[in-house]
Amino acid sequence: MKELALYFLDIVKNSTAAGARHVNLSLSECEDGTLTAVISDDGKGMSPDLLAAVSDPFTTTRTTRKVGMGIPLYRMAAEQTGGSLSLESTLGAGTTITAVFHRGHLDCPPLGDLPGAAALMVQGSPQVDFTLVHTTVKGSYTFQTEQIRDLLGPEVPLDTPEVFLWIREFLAEQEANI
């Protein structure tokens, strides 16, 4: 994939597919040129056997076919930059997946359209509470769907096109400040 934001969009789908009520995406960019992305959820988690096998493309929980490329591609993207990927999971409690990218490496994709990708994470699973934290050397911001859910009320689900556009523009403004 051409942007890191697209990988995050893909990997977050694992969390929502695992029945998570809360999903956190935390991005930290450091002065040493690394970007650490932590995606954590309170979904159903994985058994030790599944956890050990998920980086293999021939492991998948879906039934339509026998390959699953999400985590293998994500691991490859991180490791290609000299970074790493680690997974922690507890059955019944949730999963945390941490990827480290070296931004200066030739093979590191650009961050890309984070506001657009994050707004689509919300649009794709309107019932899930998302938290996005992005920290750079210049500053930091936090966005939580819980903040806007109350204001919108029960009549306006978070997958409404107007809400998607608002979130995307709101995040673009936050990005411009850090």
């Binding site: 994939m1 697209l6 969009l9 893909d10 789908k13 597919a17 879906r62 339509t64 076919r65 699953g68 490329m69 999400g70 591609l73 359209d113 657009g116 990708a117 689509l120 649009q123 794709g124 903040q147 806007i148 204001l151 919108l152 009320g153 009549e155 306006v156 997958d159 409404t160 096109p161 107007e162 809400v163 998607f164 556009l165 608002w166 523009e169 709101f170 403004e173």
Partner: protein, 122 residues
């Protein structure tokens, strides 16, 4: 600056239009494949274009949803359109510039854009 006040305005607008949606009874569903294969093939800008175009035209009877792998990865990005009482239509190899055509022709005018469908691709 985007303000939280704007969200309240969206809420008020939606409340007023809610009745129209309930009464019209023909809720159209647009489903975009957003699994790894879809995203890698460019489904994100396609999905975004649907949301943009539907908002621009103020189409209240259309719901846009994301799904996983539809099963024909080589034809991604794939978009399925469900209109009550009609056969499902599957559009393949979608690009953002094809989206306004599908919205205007299919969702509004109810004419399937045959040249974009899986039947035309296969």
């Amino acid at each position: 600056m985007k303000s939280l006040e704007e969200l309240k305005a969206i809420r008020e607008k939606m409340k007023q239009q809610m009745d129209i949606r309930d009464q019209s009874g023909d809720n159209i569903r647009v489903v975009v494949g957003m699994a790894t294969c879809g995203i890698a093939a460019g489904a994100k800008p396609v999905l975004t274009a649907f949301l943009d175009e539907i908002q621009r035209r103020g189409l209240r009877n259309v719901t846009v949803a994301q799904t996983g792998c539809i099963g024909v990865c080589r034809l991604e990005p794939i978009v399925e359109v469900y209109i009550p009482g009609e056969e499902k239509v599957t559009y393949v190899k979608m690009k953002p510039d094809m989206v306004p055509v599908v919205v205007n022709e299919h969702l509004v005018n109810r004419r399937v854009v045959t040249e974009y469908t899986i039947g035309a691709a296969e």
